[in-house]
Assembly symmetry: C2
Homo-oligomer: 370 residues x 2
């Protein structure tokens, strides 16, 4: 791994292992994990699924063996914390002047990589706050995806479902391109429970937001589906190093705020330009989207005590070193989260509703706790 | 109010208002209100149902207008705290060398009062950790009970039930003695739900452990039902002031450890020597026996915040000034109790099971938290 300036172009004869330029958009409020995550300290900075390493650090470490360069795109509010966590790595941190959703974030990184490594450079975008237990399997899938990317596809890794979840968008695979790669027939929004069941039975995959393609493929797709945004990103990347902070912020604010899926992936799928690699069912992917999914995995830096549980099965506590003793009586699957300034009490079933709490906290004027 | 030495005998011509010698046994572990109450800081010392005054202080204030003297009987572990809370009053504090249940506690106080005020002095025993919202009504009932006590009855105040509770023992009233007083046909143990319903429909009353009688009546009852204990209490009271701490402790340890109800009230009821005054249905009595009953009343010194409640009706928080913000998501009737060193999460339905928690805490070796 390492961000090596001056190594231009794609070595098409070399090992694909070192030929990915990984992009990690690191943003989001993470309101579902309040009070662990806060607006100014989001989920990707937290030591989840590992006793000490943050999700961002784990993501970087997971991609490093297949990445020639790694670029983290993050907001100005989190840039200092991101730098602190990645001091020992060769990661480039690109600071977004403001949040414009994922397309501008991935787009500016892609244009900066394209300017340096050319049209055939393979980029891959990966969430900063997911986990994949079997990193080696993930990297194998990435290598497969790189082949499809070189053939011109916007290539996504589709997660083989382990449950009929309603928390994710789904991918409907189309015809096989080769043994491991299919076209994407359609991206489907988060379904209700009945449809989720149908989707799983029909071989649909979860959309985990992992996209691998050449910089050429992305710029062509933008030219077709978001031409104004594509032109602006290209021009902004060319000027990026020379712009003052204010000038960058102004140019940035003119970009269309849109998600990568809507801007590129969905229209490209309709034009048969998207491919999918189905991950192994044992890959161990999770988006750690709420306390319910946090309870599914272990090893968090917050599991410093087992609560006293009376007539309460499955009680779980997330807290820090200096936590008071915690007891749960008569509540199954209770989740108690303790920080120095806030306590959350919920159940695994209700975990999705935790996102409402920061709104109430804000209404109370306690912005420091959001 | 005031503990006036030298006022001997009973002024039978005077106002009954000043002719009660109140006894307040103040003991108990209070495990159902953990972590607010602790072994070394029991419930009667806590500011419950009042923003600043403890249950013991409220009990003293409630009885003062009808009491010529007030005697608090408490354990050596709590004597300092009791003194601290009652510095502004004329209360006598009698320190039990060890816990021997309620009969020795009430008995030693009665014998000390008898030695000073004679056989016709009317004593009344009242729990230190209950509340009565309408103090004036309570005192009216006490005045009625004093009349029955003078007629020779062990007289109890029976609480008119407001629900078919299974948390209390019941009193079955017998024949009316006069308009306001009946004999007690029977004391009945805590019933199951079906029997509780029958009891309430049949006019049974709750046994709140309030007993009013002359010192003569009590010493005669002890002579009949617990003659050895009666003799020892009489002899111990005579020597009380002159004994060293060790000698007191040794004599005290020889007393039968037994509750007043078993020692005297129940056998005396079988001999038609017990009377009951039914309290007004609006008296507002509560034993504050668990967090469920705490939720029924307001004004606690621990209600410093309303929790953020998402999809959670009736959520309630008990905490101190320096509490973190507390949020509850998806749990109806949730009760969260926060202290500096412990957090309890339960529901009103499960409140009775909280008593198991201190046992687990002890098993963990965290005795400082019990």
């Amino acid at each position: 791994m390492g961000y090596r300036r001056g190594t231009r172009g794609l070595d098409t004869n070399g090992d694909t292992m070192t030929q990915l330029h990984a992009i990690i958009p690191a943003g989001g409020a993470g309101t579902r994990l309040w009070p662990l995550s806060r607006a100014n300290y989001p989920k990707f900075l937290l030591p989840l699924a590992h006793p000490t390493r943050s999700l961002l650090q784990q993501t970087v470490e997971r991609l490093a063996p297949v990445a020639e360069t790694i670029t983290v795109v993050t907001g100005s509010a989190h840039a200092a914390a991101v730098h602190d966590q990645l001091t020992d790595t060769d990661v480039r941190v690109v600071c977004e002047p403001s949040g414009r959703n994922s397309m501008p974030a991935i787009g500016i990184a892609s244009e900066l990589i394209r300017a340096e490594f050319g049209d055939d450079a393979v980029i891959g975008s990966f969430a900063a706050d997911h986990i994949v237990r079997d990193s080696e399997q993930l990297r194998d899938h990435i290598r497969t995806a790189i082949r499809a990317a070189r053939a011109g596809y916007i290539t996504t890794l589709g997660i083989t479902p382990t449950a009929a979840s309603t928390a994710f968008g789904y991918i409907r695979p189309g015809d096989l391109i080769d043994r491991e790669v299919a076209t994407v027939a359609e991206f489907v929004e988060k379904p209700d429970e009945a449809r989720a069941q149908q989707f799983v039975e029909s071989g649909y995959l979860w959309n985990a937001g992992m996209f691998i393609m050449t910089t050429r493929t992305l710029s062509e797709a933008l030219a077709d589906y978001q031409p104004d945004l594509g032109r602006r990103l290209h021009a902004l990347a060319a000027d990026w190093q020379d712009l003052s902070g204010d000038a960058r912020a102004e140019r940035w604010s003119e970009l269309t705020a849109i998600a990568f899926d809507y801007a590129v992936a969905e229209p490209a799928a309709r034009d048969d330009r998207v491919a999918v690699v189905a991950t192994s069912p044992t890959i161990g992917w999770s988006d750690l989207g709420d306390f319910d999914s946090l309870c599914e995995v272990s090893g968090h830096g917050y599991e410093t005590q087992t609560p006293i549980a009376v007539d309460s099965s499955g009680a779980k506590v997330f807290t820090g070193d200096s936590a008071p003793l915690i007891a749960v009586v008569g509540i199954d699957n209770c989740v108690v989260v303790h920080t120095d300034d806030a306590i959350l009490v919920t159940t695994r079933d209700a975990a999705q509703k935790v996102k409402d709490v920061p709104q109430y906290v804000r209404q109370m004027g306690r912005h420091e706790l959001c």
